[in-house]
């Protein structure tokens, strides 16, 4: 497993290397590279994109970890990302980079093993395959906010842009994970982006309001809660 450690503190770098060396074995070979800044990493990353896991310190000199993560996601929506953070620099960003977790420093052998297991389980980011202008486009599911039927087409709203495809909601449903739920006749939403749920509507993180049908209200509420319950279960710190 090829791991990049982006961390500006030399001591922490050494600590992580020591832990990784302890885990390193013939069955699970580990190859770790340290970078002192986000810039240094991004430079390297633009050349060779073959890391299996990127450990990002949130507080870096120069660009902070979250900014680096967004830049990584622009060119690679798939690589596994995890943040390292202190008590006082937990960043909550509206932009979802699909990180595997936030790990509280100090990093311990247990936390690291759990993280590596998670990487192995989820090396494959789920995609949505969209046919646009006779071209297949892969859109990572974690980037999709919601699907909306309009004029017999489906608008796929992602965090950065909107795609249009010719399909019916029924046809795309098998491609979606449990994170997606139908809230209205013409709408399927990613639970990760829901901010509030009221009696007949919901608000997304970016402030968009979408209607929720009466019979879907209870299932949506339960799914929303279950989604966060799930996140609570597998968070790593």
């Amino acid at each position: 497993m090829k791991i990049a450690i982006v961390e500006d503190n030399h001591q922490t770098q050494q600590q992580i290397i020591t832990l990784l060396t302890a885990i390193d074995s013939a069955s699970q070979p580990i190859n770790a590279t340290c970078f002192n800044s986000g810039e240094a990493f991004l430079f390297e990353f633009s050349e060779t994109q073959n890391f299996d896991l990127i450990l990002l310190d949130i507080q870096l000199g120069g660009q902070d970890g979250m900014t680096v993560a967004r830049k990584i996601r622009k060119s690679d929506p798939q690589v596994a990302l995890a943040f390292l953070s202190n008590y006082d620099d937990y960043v909550f960003d509206g932009y979802d980079v699909g990180a595997l977790g936030y790990i509280m420093k100090p990093l311990t052998a247990d936390k690291l093993t759990a993280l590596l297991q998670k990487v192995e389980l989820q090396t494959q980011v789920a995609y949505f395959l969209a046919e646009i202008d006779n071209e297949s486009i892969k859109i990572p599911l974690f980037d999709i906010i919601y699907f909306e039927v309009q004029n017999h087409q489906i608008n796929i709203h992602t965090q950065t842009k909107t795609y249009q495809i010719n399909a019916q909601l029924k046809e795309i449903q098998p491609q979606l994970t449990a994170d997606f739920i139908q809230i209205y006749r013409s709408l399927i939403v990613n639970l990760s982006f829901i901010s509030q749920l009221t009696n007949n509507a919901l608000t997304l993180n970016d402030g968009t309001t979408l209607p929720v049908s009466r019979q879907q209200h209870t299932p949506v509420k339960q799914a929303f809660l279950a989604h966060y319950r799930g996140l609570a279960h597998d968070d790593l710190f």
Binding site: Y87, D88, D89, Y90, F92, G94, D96, M104, S192, S195, Q196, L197, T198, T203, N205, G207, K221, F224, L225, Y228, R229, L231, A232, D235, F237
Partner: protein, 385 residues
């Protein structure tokens, strides 16, 4: 005289309606307003009265489907239906008196089977008597007096209850302020302890250097072990990043520890501003108090557990408190709206605050376990500020 009495009554009911249901949601307004309208119409005409009773019956039929404990509602529905039938069949005679007694006993039954607020129930009973007597009184003057009395009764009742609820909430708020002072003190002593450590830091380093200079590695190691042990002593269980949250969770955990309750705690929120400190203390303090109370009611031998999980997940402040509870405990889903004790008030406060922050609350229970989950959207909280 007759027409004046009806007008007065209509006016008083309208006043009561505005006073009680302001501000309104549309659905509530429609439902309540139709009940009031039919009620008013009922004072004019026996047929309307029949419809009124039928309406009430339908209302209770709906409640049957929603309620957990169905029997009382079923009985009440049947009774209203019988009542509606009787009124339509009978012109008012001595049988009306029987009807009146029947309604009263029905109300008593409701009072005994459901946990309502007692003064409100008594007032309702008196109100029922007045309304039903209206149809028995022939003299317009007397009728006028009764109508005025009934109207005043409703106004006084609702005002009184409103006032009482507010008063108890005030008392509660004052005790909360006291609670807050305690937590502030706890935070302060925590920081004082930390400051003390910082102060000693220099001395510790000097000692260690001295040992190392003399190649006394064993001693240095021993000294470090010692320091580690001491650090654990000053170290409270929870470091969430938020001092107020730390204080309230830690103090409740200390309470749990005193009661020998096994705990499983994960609290981390970082330093970013969350909801108002007082609100945070009210929500977490009440939740944990209720949880600990339920656990301490368990019989010896029953498995005890308190699990606290508070974190920021994506854009939500997620709070989940799980507690074991006595196997015999019966949970009343309408506890918060009907009980005026500390627990009821606490639950009401929590519900109110969560709604204020456009959050969501979910209570779930199984035999032996109770879980409360709260989700507060940070986007909305930050937008507010």
């Amino acid at each position: 005289m007759m027409i004046y009495s009806k007008l007065t009554f209509t006016l008083i009911l309208a006043l009561w309606f505005i006073h009680h249901y302001w501000p309104l949601t549309v659905k509530k307004a429609v439902v309540e307003f139709s009940v009031v309208l039919i009620g008013v119409a009922a004072t004019y005409n026996p047929i309307a009265l029949t419809i009124y009773f039928l309406g009430l019956a339908i209302f209770y039929v709906i409640r049957i489907f929603r309620a957990k404990n169905k029997l009382p509602d079923i009985i009440i529905t049947i009774s209203w239906l019988i009542l509606a039938g009787l009124v339509s069949l009978l012109s008012f005679s001595w049988l009306s008196w029987v009807l009146l007694l029947f309604t009263l006993s029905l109300n008593f039954y409701e009072l005994r089977t459901q946990q309502h607020y007692l003064p409100l129930n008594i007032m309702t009973l008196i109100f029922d008597v007045l309304i039903l007597t209206l149809f028995l009184v022939v003299s317009p003057t007397l009728q006028f007096i009764f109508v005025v009395l009934a109207g005043l009764m409703t106004l006084i009742t609702t005002s009184l209850i409103h006032y009482l609820f507010q008063e108890t909430d005030m008392v509660f708020a004052r005790s909360l302020d006291k609670m807050m002072t305690n937590y502030t003190q706890e935070v302060q002593s925590l920081y004082e302890g930390m400051r003390g450590w910082r102060h000693d830091y220099h001395d510790h380093l000097q000692t260690l250097k001295a040992y190392l200079d003399q190649q006394q590695v064993k001693e240095a190691r021993h000294y470090l072990d010692d320091l580690e042990d001491k650090l654990e002593e000053v170290d409270p269980v929870v470091h969430s990043g938020n001092p107020v949250l730390d204080a309230v969770v830690n103090s409740k955990l200390t309470l749990a520890e005193k009661l020998n309750i096994p705990t499983n705690v994960k609290v981390f929120v970082g330093t970013q501003p969350l909801i108002d400190d007082v609100d945070l203390v009210v929500i977490i303090g009440n939740l944990m108090d209720n949880a600990i109370e339920a656990i301490s009611e368990q019989a010896t031998g029953e498995k005890k557990l308190l699990r606290v999980y508070i974190s920021i997940l994506k854009q939500q402040l997620y709070i989940s408190i799980t507690n074991s509870r006595p196997d015999t405990q019966i949970i009343d889903p309408e506890y918060a709206s009907t009980k005026n004790d500390k627990r009821g008030l606490g639950i009401r406060r929590i519900n109110h605050l969560v709604a204020n922050y456009s959050g969501m609350i979910n209570r779930q229970y199984q035999p032996g376990v109770f879980v409360t989950e709260i989700m507060l959207p940070l986007a909305a909280i930050h937008a507010e500020k």
